[in-house]
Symmetry: C2
Subunit: 339 residues, 2 copies
């Protein structure tokens, strides 16, 4: 039971500090939270918590603030993801309902997430890896160039300009289109790639080079990491919550947020159905060592296609953020499933 109270104290410290952003002392603690004990008792517990490395004081004779380890403990053991209220659910659904476009869905999700959590939101575009090829369209741009447009089941569209070695005729283009679609349509892109690879061998000798280059471009477009790498960031204005001295705290974060490759690493390690929380220096990115990341996978039906989440100061409302991230991920998944 003494253990229980210690944890209650930790929870209270975290909640208070998150709310006020100020180190919290024993006295204010017992005032605000109804722990049925005196400040002195709380002080003893605090000393113990400090020994365990869960809280720390910025300087002697200041209140305590949670350490990264303390937050970790809080998140792992002291928190249950609270469900969103019916009103919030309606708001989310309503906000995402109007989207008619993949871009639109992603865009709205970012905004929504940023607004709900009052933090920086990141949404990764649905990954190609697990989607199927709906259609491949080839359009002649000039005599030696064509545009390949790849339409995927997730609604994503990839495009490539391809230089071809021979002069393009309508017949050749038609043949190409037919064969490519026959081989690729309906397949998962990994399978489509192999199916396409066999194509050039099946056609007349004269057009083999053309087939080769086109197939290569289409395959490249399929497996292109750049497309997986697309992420959208929003709510950067919420970085204001970080407090002052911009240069040291916020600037590196903004820089990291522009490195989309970096963000993908951040989101990449999330598992599908669980909300992952990475606190402070736990993450792989130095520039974000003062921030926490709450993320989760999302996507149609069973397997996760992609990920979304929020980035904020370690001092953040974890339960709230986790709930919001989870809720948005679910709604986005539903919407993607429908279309």
């Amino acid at each position: 039971m003494i253990e229980d109270r210690k944890l209650a104290v930790l929870r209270a410290i975290v909640e208070d500090y998150v709310a006020t952003q100020e180190p919290v002392g024993s006295k204010t603690l017992v005032e605000r939270h109804r722990l049925g004990v005196s400040p002195a008792t709380v002080r003893n517990d605090m000393a113990a918590l400090e020994d365990e490395g869960l809280i720390a004081q910025p300087h002697t004779s200041a209140g305590r603030i949670p350490t990264d380890k303390g937050y970790r403990f809080f998140v792992d053991r002291l928190t249950t993801v609270k469900a969103m209220s019916a009103a919030e659910k309606r708001a989310i659904a309503g906000f995402l309902e109007g989207a008619h476009d993949l871009d639109d869905v992603v865009q709205r999700s970012v905004r929504l997430l940023a607004q709900l959590t009052q933090q920086v939101a990141i949404v990764q575009y649905p990954t190609l890896a697990k989607s199927t090829v709906r259609h491949v369209e080839l359009v002649a741009l000039s005599t030696h160039r064509l545009l390949a447009v790849l339409i995927l089941s997730t609604g994503r569209v990839e495009q490539r300009v391809i230089e071809v070695p021979v002069e393009l005729t309508d017949d050749l283009l038609g043949d190409l289109r037919l064969r490519v679609n026959a081989a690729a349509a309906g397949e998962r892109i990994s399978e489509a790639a192999t199916a396409l690879g066999a194509l050039p061998e099946q056609v007349g000798h004269d057009v083999t080079p053309t087939f080769t280059v086109v197939v290569a471009a289409v395959v490249e477009a399929m497996s292109n990491h750049r497309s997986d790498e697309r992420v959208v960031v929003g709510g950067t204005a919420n970085l204001a919550r970080f407090g002052d001295n911009f240069d040291q705290t916020v600037k590196p974060i903004l820089e990291a947020l522009e490195e989309h490759v970096v963000l993908l690493k951040l989101l990449g390690e999330t598992s599908s159905d669980l909300v992952t929380v990475r606190i402070g220096a736990e993450g792989p990115i130095d520039q974000l060592s003062a921030t926490s990341v709450v993320a989760t996978g999302y996507g149609a039906s069973d397997d996760a296609l992609s990920a979304l989440g929020v980035v904020g100061p370690t001092r953040m409302d974890y339960p709230g953020s986790m709930a919001a991230v989870r809720a948005v991920a679910r709604y986005v998944s539903t919407i993607l499933d429908e279309s």
Copy 2:
């Protein structure tokens, strides 16, 4: 000649203040710039400049800083856009060369511009308004839904999911595709829209509703403002140059930068071949009253398709920014022309 010196003083003040970010006094001024006169003389000139509203002092007994009006004067009369060095030109060309994709071009341009100017860069996607329709592709998604993909000469791709009232057959789809392309391909989108409008009347009574709804969706996709409205922002970390008190200065700017609609207004009023400079409160957006915008149109050949520019503190390096903006706009135009 006294006028000449006054202007030289103004120029010197602007340059100094931009470089140091500190109010500049008469003494430091004569030291740094070789005006052949004494501080006292400069003081007289400064008093005159202040009367004219071109400079101001934050408080008595501090140096002077330029007012918005002063910057305006500086930009209009005291500055010639300096050409980029050969090395810089090569760097720009090299940076943009690798792009093979419209998205890529835009993305790289933003980065480049942000890096060159050390400020926030904004690039608007090429406008649809003046591009022509390359191809319209219709793909069946299910029995009553199809995906319309609109491929434009700029390389932009628009897509719409359309619900159709009748069951889709391959024949119907083929007919649709044929007719729509015949009407629209090669046309500017305004003309394509009218051409398409006539389509439903030319087909059999039974499929008219289908044609109507598909044509409507395609036309909507063409004229859709959302596509014109796409802008990409980069280099927000450079807002650190603003100095401190984040909340009051930087936060509203970040907020404004996320409102893409707002940014379009900002870019929208730029003329094609000239670099437009909007200083401080001259702009239409309150939140950006402490910033200046340097922008220009860009696009293939004669008519401007779109715009790009940078946003920074009024205290910015105008000649440098103008040069960079102009240079990048030119290179992007060239590249878009090629593809």
